[in-house]
């Protein structure tokens, strides 16, 4: 089963696309695992996710911690700290 990933701001620019569908391997359980997995997919991902501690993640449009499990997620948003307002 594939999951939709959506990227914003400089994460989007560095990865080079606004969204994609990927098949998440069984050994990827948490948000932290997912970020590490993505970094293995190529230089653009490594560049975008170089400092995972600053990366914010939302599952189905709600903020989550990096320790959160991703099982059942339909859409995972990955982005830098927010700077609106």
């Amino acid at each position: 089963m594939s999951t939709k990933l959506v990227y914003f701001a400089w994460v989007r620019e560095r990865i080079g696309k606004p969204e994609e569908e990927i098949v998440i391997p069984d050994n990827v359980v948490t948000v932290r695992d997912l970020l590490n997995h993505l970094k293995s997919l190529g230089e653009e991902y490594e560049n975008a996710l170089q400092y995972p501690e600053v990366i914010r993640v939302a599952i189905d449009q709600e903020h989550v911690e990096h320790s959160e499990k991703i099982a059942g997620a339909r859409e995972i948003g990955i982005f830098p700290p927010m700077t609106g307002g």
Binding site: V6, F8, A9, W10, A58, Q61, E62, H63, G77, F79, P80, P81, M82, T83, G84, G85
Partner: protein
């Protein structure tokens, strides 16, 4: 009576007076209305524009979550939060919050709380367009904004 916040994310500008009127029209129980408008500054001429990116759907949902917290916490009688996206020129509006309450402290606190949380948790990102056309940098998040949010805990 449950107070339902008005939340909108839009590319167009907003009219402050009509947003206030929508909130207060025909009511006789509102004693205080506080508005906050956030405007694009040119940073002493260094900036030609800001480009606002957002996460459609989540932006509205997150603003609504914050607004509902503010209404509950300060017993607000009305709350409106609007945020623009796209290219915004210096002097133009970026964000508008309108908070209504029986008394002034709740209205001030409601608007201020809404802005502090919106800044740190609503999914919007600002990119600067330099006046000289050279650089285009994403604005960095500020520790001061986290500090401002944390004072409400």
């Amino acid at each position: 009576m449950t107070v339902i916040p008005t939340i909108r994310v839009q590319s167009t500008d907003f009219d402050l007076q009509s947003e206030i009127d929508t909130l207060t029209m025909g009511r006789r129980d509102i004693g205080a209305v506080v508005t906050f408008s956030g405007l694009c500054r040119d940073e002493c001429g260094a900036l030609s524009a800001l480009e606002l990116e957002h996460y459609p759907g989540m932006a509205e949902a997150e603003m609504r979550r914050i607004a509902e917290m503010a209404i509950e916490r300060f017993s607000l009688l009305g709350l409106t939060a609007l945020h623009r996206y796209g290219k915004i020129m210096p002097g133009e509006n970026i964000v508008l919050v309108v908070a209504a309450a029986p008394h002034r402290q709740a209205a001030f606190d409601g608007a201020s709380f809404m802005m502090d949380f919106l800044k740190t948790s609503a999914p919007f990102w600002k990119k600067e367009h330099a006046a000289d056309g050279t650089a285009r940098d994403w604005v960095a998040a500020k520790d001061a904004d986290d500090t401002a949010r944390d004072k409400w805990r």
